[in-house]
Subunit: 152 residues, 2 copies
């Protein structure tokens, strides 16, 4: 647990440094076998990339380090509660677990909470605030897409 | 609606080309003011980056094109039902809506559905299969992180 606290403190320290450099207050580290293999800060302001959250960039860095898209056996330590995109990214990468220090309740007074987006995303697709539409369009004369992939 | 079908067909065509080139069967385009401003395919196999989904790469390309992390007024056309990471990314970027052609039911026989991950992510955090833990660690002697950011 003490080591986990140290990893979390490192993520928070990164967030403080990022604020000093004009970035948003988020940092993350990824740990495998008791060692930090990747770390990142939120780079949305600098890069103008809306996906450049600390956790997502740390996942990308860890996959480069491991030369694999699979991050099984890895855990994430994030300064703040991960947003739905980053939580989804962890699941897609096979991350084992995530520990965070600052909650959405801590973040709410500063407009940094994603609790409302989480609540919206938990609704059925047709009741969410972003329009999600299924149009079963197909290209004519082709084998079915997924079967084609399966056969390749 | 006909134009929407064309955008969706373009996303599917990209997916077919990606399969031919050894990639996964996913493509996406992003439309603003009736024109495609970005497009991408799934590059996970080639790049070994678990976040290199078609929709996420298209979002990054659109933000470069617009020189902004905000994609308000943009809509996504994706060959397949977006995964939770990509759905979260759309929300973070302010995407207006998403239309997809192949459903999770279509994808399920080929192991490409993310319906189970969606169901898991809709549960309360402490009941999900990936361990999510809140440790309210703080660095001593610093101003509170979010207040510090707010004051910068």
């Amino acid at each position: 647990m003490n080591q986990d606290t140290d990893f979390l403190k490192q993520a928070i320290a990164l967030a403080y440094v990022n604020v000093e450099q004009g970035g948003r207050p988020f940092g993350a580290v990824i740990v495998k076998d008791g060692k930090i293999i990747a770390q990142a800060v939120n780079e949305v302001v600098r890069s103008k990339d809306p996906t450049a959250h600390a956790e997502l960039l740390a996942i990308r860095a860890a996959s480069r380090y491991l030369d694999s898209p699979s991050l099984t056996g890895c855990t994430v330590f994030a300064s703040g509660h991960p947003c739905p995109m980053c939580m989804g990214a962890m699941r897609m990468a096979g991350i084992e677990g995530v520990t965070y220090a600052y909650s959405n309740d801590d973040a709410s007074p500063y407009g940094l909470s994603t609790a409302e987006v989480y609540a919206d995303l938990a609704k059925p697709f047709d009741q969410q605030s972003m329009r999600i539409r299924h149009l079963p369009v197909r290209l004519g004369g082709e084998p079915e897409l997924y079967a084609h992939w399966h056969g390749c």
